[in-house]
């Protein structure tokens, strides 16, 4: 079975079933925004949501993660976590799934990151396809992430009274096959899916003025540009843009001792290139002085460097960095400002 069909009236039954299978995280409301949270009551789940404050990366790359347990005397070290828990991420947008694919590329690149991979092994991703824009900040169509492009176990599409579920892994297939109310999708349902996808083409239009290859080219020529100066003036250096980015993966490592001053834990904690001291080295030299060059670096880490290194854009188009910036720095505006000056 490749495509399955779930009647909306059976959605809650399926959610109850999934909830029992593993630790279950889904989007829920938090004040006027949304967050991924563990679900107690399936009624709390919001499937119509704008991207959550933090992307689901917090579950496979936690903000503060234990790495190593150690003892000073007699000296001894041990893994901090012996057993990782199975978990399901439910209702993930395609932009965030693209984020997971980017992280995969980074953490699988040698030397592989065991902590990330251990968590990732335990993860089941059930996505939901967006049929309309979340808000004006998203640039998913330019990045090609408004449509599913793999990286999930199951992908749901709302076709009216049913969800069509694309089965993309064995793990996913089990979760569909084990319940009797999910059937194989009928031909007419598949026709509806095709029609909905066509309609979607009319709604989602590339948000950048230039095509992605042109954007890449413009980055090649824009290392010195007024655009960065302008950003540097606006930027307050809070680091929100990198914290909320589904593909930012920088971290710092620190040791914390217990009060007996003999046992301790080694942690890794999210870090950000927007921090003042991020590129400072011993002796006080700072390789990226000023908010202007730090903002520029962030953009190059999305549209230039990873393309050269991994042949992949590290912007997913989720729009979080723009949405969260109180200084009003817009990714779409910034990229658009770069393209006309550099390309004839």
């Amino acid at each position: 079975m490749k495509y399955a069909s779930l009647k909306k009236t059976n959605l809650n039954n399926w959610l109850e079933y999934l909830k029992k299978k593993a630790k279950f995280y889904a989007p829920r409301k938090k004040e006027n925004l949304f967050v991924f949270r563990p679900v107690k009551d399936v009624a709390d789940i919001c499937l119509e949501y704008i991207p959550t404050i933090l992307p689901p990366k917090k579950y496979y790359f936690p903000q503060k993660e234990r790495l190593l347990r150690f003892r000073a005397q007699p000296f001894k070290t041990a893994k901090a976590i012996d057993k990782f828990e199975e978990f399901i991420l439910f209702g993930v947008h395609t932009c965030d799934i693209a984020g997971i694919q980017c992280m995969d590329v980074v953490f699988r690149d040698g030397p592989e990151d065991p902590n990330y991979l251990n968590r990732k092994d335990m993860m089941t991703i059930i996505g939901i396809e967006c049929l309309k824009y979340c808000d004006k900040y998203a640039n998913c169509a330019s990045m090609g992430n408004h449509i599913p492009r793999g990286g999930y176990d199951l992908m749901m599409v709302d076709i009216g009274d049913e969800f069509i579920i694309h089965i993309n892994s064995e793990k996913g297939e089990k979760l569909v096959k084990e319940v009797d109310f999910i059937k194989e999708a009928t031909e007419s349902e598949m026709v509806t899916l095709g029609r909905i996808r066509e309609e979607k083409n009319e709604i989602f239009k590339e948000e950048f003025y230039a095509s992605l290859p042109k954007v890449y080219e413009s980055f090649d020529k824009s290392f010195v540009s007024e655009v960065w100066k302008d950003l540097g003036k606006k930027c307050v250096g809070c680091g929100n843009c990198t914290a909320v980015c589904p593909t930012c993966y920088c971290f710092d490592v620190s040791d914390e001792m217990e009060l007996n001053l003999n046992d301790g834990l080694r942690y890794r904690i999210w870090n950000s290139c927007q921090m003042d001291d991020f590129a400072k080295v011993a002796g006080g030299e700072d390789f990226r002085k000023g908010r202007e060059s730090r903002q520029r670096h962030r953009y190059y880490r999305k549209f230039k460097y990873p393309v050269d290194k991994f042949n992949r854009y590290f912007c997913t188009g989720c729009g979080r960095c723009t949405r969260t910036c109180m200084a009003g720095i817009s990714l779409i505006d910034t990229v658009n400002a770069l393209t006309p000056v550099s390309i004839d």
Binding site: K30, E31, N32, L33, V35, I53, L54, K58, Q63, K64, K233, K234, C235, V236, G237, C238, G239, N240, A243, V244, E256, M257, L259, L261, W270, S272, M275, D276, D277, R291, T324, M326, A327, G328
Partner: protein, 254 residues
């Protein structure tokens, strides 16, 4: 290791509300664990003894009189290690508001016709008078940070106060941004280390931990005025805790 005599801790307060010492006293079970490692020999909120023989001095409060200056110098001479505890001691804190007007005017406003009998000098954080080895920011201090600093102190390691803004911790806690709710918040320019304690609990950031080394003053002013605050009000937000930060502060903000 246990046979060695334990380091002796003493607590002293200057111009403050003694709230940071109270926080320390509130360590609860952790305080008892800590007593395995140290002796507290002078701490008027929890013991009646007041020994004058100590190794580590915790200083709460800002320096605001000539007598304060003499007293803190004496303590510095005796203590092997000196810790500034809380906003008043580390950045001058709310007491710094006094520095906004001339001393004469400030005295007159507060003490009226008795002003001439009062000795007062400009408000200074402790480090402006004597050298400080460890800094614990906050109004009041954040207990997990207090514990971290004490551990560093006992291991003889430096404690590095974060030089990034509260926002970065706040975002990791996945709070809804105060600006999202049309509230002004100083988290963008205020030194982190408190794990965005106030915002986690529904409040906003008042800047009690002092400003980061290189605050984006202009950008922050833009943001605050974008949210409908006048320059005057903006300055009030900046100066609530940070008025006695000296020349650097003046250059950035006035």
């Amino acid at each position: 290791m246990k046979k060695q005599s334990k380091p002796r801790l003493a607590f002293f307060d200057f111009t403050d509300c003694e709230g940071c010492q109270l926080q320390f006293a509130n360590l609860g079970g952790t305080l008892l664990e800590l007593l395995e490692l140290v002796d507290i020999v002078n701490f008027r909120e929890i013991i009646s003894e007041a020994a004058e023989d100590y190794d580590i001095a915790f200083i709460e409060g800002s320096i605001t009189t000539d007598n304060d200056v003499l007293r803190i110098k004496k303590i510095r001479d005796k203590a092997k290690v000196l810790v500034a505890l809380g906003s008043c001691a580390t950045i001058g804190g709310v007491n710094g508001i006094k520095n906004r007007s001339s001393l004469e005017l400030a005295k007159k406003i507060v003490y009226g016709d008795k002003a001439s009998t009062i000795n007062t000098i400009k408000t200074m954080p402790v480090h402006e008078v004597v050298s400080v080895d460890y800094t614990i920011n906050g109004c009041p201090v954040y207990l997990p940070e207090v514990v971290s600093v004490v551990k560093c102190l006992l291991m003889g390691k430096p404690y590095v106060v974060p030089n990034y803004p509260v926002c970065s911790e706040c975002k990791m806690n996945e709070n809804v941004c105060r600006y999202e709710k049309d509230q002004e918040c100083m988290g963008t320019v205020t030194r982190a280390g408190c794990n965005s304690w106030c915002i986690n609990n529904g409040n906003r950031c008042y800047g009690c931990r002092g400003l980061v080394d290189n605050p984006a003053a202009d950008a922050q002013k833009d943001i605050l005025s974008k949210y409908g605050l006048k320059l005057e009000d903006v300055l009030k937000h900046f100066t609530l805790y940070n008025d006695s930060m000296g020349e650097k502060y003046d250059q950035e903000f006035k």
